[in-house]
């Protein structure tokens, strides 16, 4: 049974329980594997989390850590339209508002898409169809789930464009994506995602393709809209700065698994995993020169076909030899509670980590 944290976004250990959870969204032991000629790619390998309405969860990790695969898994987009390719193998449970999606009728899930759950993609230029006007695309999104005539839908589109801050929305509604600037396109994309008031909004790297100045505007917009619509939001990013702005809770992924999660302030100010330290170290800060970054994560992300034995992070971890008996290279660390609603998967003892954080890492950040 899940115990809700005060923040409302609770993290639970896997519970073998087929009863519908009380949380709005609960992911249990989610695994997404892709068979390839080279072997099985374990993109997501046992992920758990919950999310309540009105709250925001930030999923952070390098590319290839499995964060985008997770979001597409929730949306059911691994199974829709995968023609001829070898099918993704998905297991676990995804409960959305009391319904398990992985075992549900695909057409039922399709109907949820766009209405109950919507998604904002990284690059709005490629994510919008180049041959249709913004208006046509929003109208289409609206009319799939609402039996209204085109005029009403168009009014709704203009209204949404207005809401996301596009000037002259009644004119711009007839523009094509290529006629918009990058920030405007992302606003339009957001307008399209929110046109059906979805209860779950997944933003996959919503600002990566944008200018720094525009990034802040878009993040503000997402936050404002979330307050207004009361949706649950998952923000997927490699940029801790983005989640810092938005998230109530943070989930750090590495090699297809969660290695640390907890309330945002905890993960930021008391991180308990060396990988999170690395992420924090590589975070650009306005008050510091980029060259002064101290602890970049060295090396490259692990192969998802041959995940290193033991702790997946061990080849890159500066502290891999701190625990005794080579345990980091033989035993996979499980998540353990390191504070209230704060979990991390590391072989170092709580004390070792606290000491390293306070003495070695934090001062340099």
């Amino acid at each position: 049974m899940t115990e809700l944290s005060k923040s409302g976004a609770a993290m639970t250990e896997p519970v073998k329980d087929s009863r519908p959870p009380s949380a709005f969204l609960e992911v249990r032991d989610l695994k997404v594997h892709f068979p390839t000629d080279d072997g099985l790619v374990k993109s997501v390998d046992g992920l758990n989390f919950t999310l309540e309405k009105g709250k925001t969860l930030g999923i952070v990790g390098e590319s290839g850590s499995g964060k985008s695969v997770t979001s597409l898994g929730i949306m059911g987009l691994h199974t829709a339209g995968q023609y001829g390719k070898r099918k993704a193998q998905i297991s676990g449970e995804i409960w959305l508002d009391g319904t398990e999606l992985l075992s549900a009728d695909p057409d039922y899930v399709r109907k949820l898409r766009g209405r109950e759950m919507a998604m904002i993609f990284q690059d709005p230029l490629s994510a919008l169809h180049p041959y249709y006007t913004i208006g046509q695309q929003i109208v289409e999104a609206y009319r799939i789930h609402n039996k209204v005539d085109k005029k009403t839908a168009r009014r709704r589109a203009v209204e949404m464009l207005d809401r996301v801050g596009i000037p002259q929305p009644d004119k711009r509604v007839d523009s094509y994506p290529h006629e918009f600037s990058g920030g405007m396109r992302q606003r339009a994309m957001i307008a399209m995602s929110l046109v059906n008031n979805p209860e779950l909004l997944i933003a996959d790297e919503p600002t990566t393709a944008l200018d720094v100045t525009v990034q802040a505007q878009i993040l503000d917009l997402i936050r404002d809209l979330q307050k207004e619509f009361g949706s649950a939001v998952i923000v997927i990013t490699h940029d801790l700065g983005v989640v810092a702005e938005l998230s109530d809770d943070i989930l750090v992924m590495y090699g297809g698994r969660c290695i640390e999660r907890g309330p945002a302030e905890k993960v930021f100010y008391e991180p308990r995993h060396p990988y999170t330290w690395g992420l924090l170290g590589s975070m650009p800060r306005l008050d510091r020169e980029q060259t002064e970054r101290l602890i970049p994560v060295k090396g490259s992300p692990p192969s998802l076909i041959n995940i290193p034995s033991g702790c997946a992070f061990n080849p890159r971890c500066p502290y891999a030899d701190v625990p005794k008996d080579n345990v980091t290279r033989t035993v996979r660390p499980e998540l353990s509670e390191v504070g209230s609603q704060h979990w991390a998967a590391c072989h170092m003892t709580q004390e070792q980590r606290e000491r390293i954080w306070i003495e070695e890492i934090a001062p340099k950040l």
Binding site: M75, L77, G81, Y83, R110, G114, F121, S175, Y176
Partner: protein
Amino acid sequence: MARGTAAGPRAVLAYLIRRLFAAAVMLVVIILVVFGIFFLVPRWAGVDPATMFVGKQADPAAIEAVRQKLGLGEPIFVQVWEFFKGLFVGRTYASGGDVTNCAAPCFGYSFRNEQAIWPVLTDRFPVTLALALGAAVLWLIFGVAAGVLSALKRGSLWDRGAMIVALSGVSLPIYFTGLLSLAIFSYGLGWLDAQYVPFAESPTGWFGGMILPWVTLAFLYAAMYARITRATMLEILGEDYIRTARAKGLREPVVIGKHAMRSTMTPILTMFGMDLGALIGGAILTETTFSLPGLGQAVLTAINTKDLPIILGVTLITSLAVIFANLVVDLLYAVIDPRVRLS
């Protein structure tokens, strides 16, 4: 902000005028080249073209007369000028007391059998047009459908089978598939009497006679189109906006049929315009194999018999068809893809 892709009618008109002017220049160049090949190349090879037009008993007077009649004495640009003058205002031919007035559009008279070229073109053009259009409809439907299915069932038995058939379709020449289909369906099984009957004589006979040529010609192109459709479709299916369409909750048939197809059709339509244009100029091999009295057959006979006026007439029609098809494709392209501007 870049606004106004929906180019105003004035922009379209200016564009059209520009294109038509370029087309006219191109036509003049083409005609010059044909004249050049016809008159200059034999001269360089040391052959007197006039001797090709007299009989076995080469009467010197006849050779000289032919030389005059063909205008071999005159510079090429004078001949080209006369030719174009004939097209627009008509011209008069006079040789040895034989005077002929040729009203515009005057494409001249055959060197070989003295028939006026314009009626030849108007007589044969519909045959070629029917062949090209009928085949085009078939190959567009079947080629694109096979390509889409193959893309959606990539790696399946259907896909592999279809692509092997497509490969053979692309690589087998029409005189092979044509003769084979004739041997099987016409001579062998006797299902189709693959013989051209004018439409006016018997619409059903016409249709029956056109089936094999249509199918044979369409097979070649359908194979090509299937391959291209498959490749394009696979590429498009990987596009982000297709994922977006699915994320909206669209049904899969709509995702494929609307979002993916519209993008897939862009390169296909470009190709289609070119191919159709070229075919309207004469599907020489198909017409020859099935003895269809179209433009291609006329030009082949004309080349064999060095009948310049027919070659010129067909070349002009072919060029016009290609230029027109290109223009239509460019306009269509701008309609389909709003990113393309008419400039």
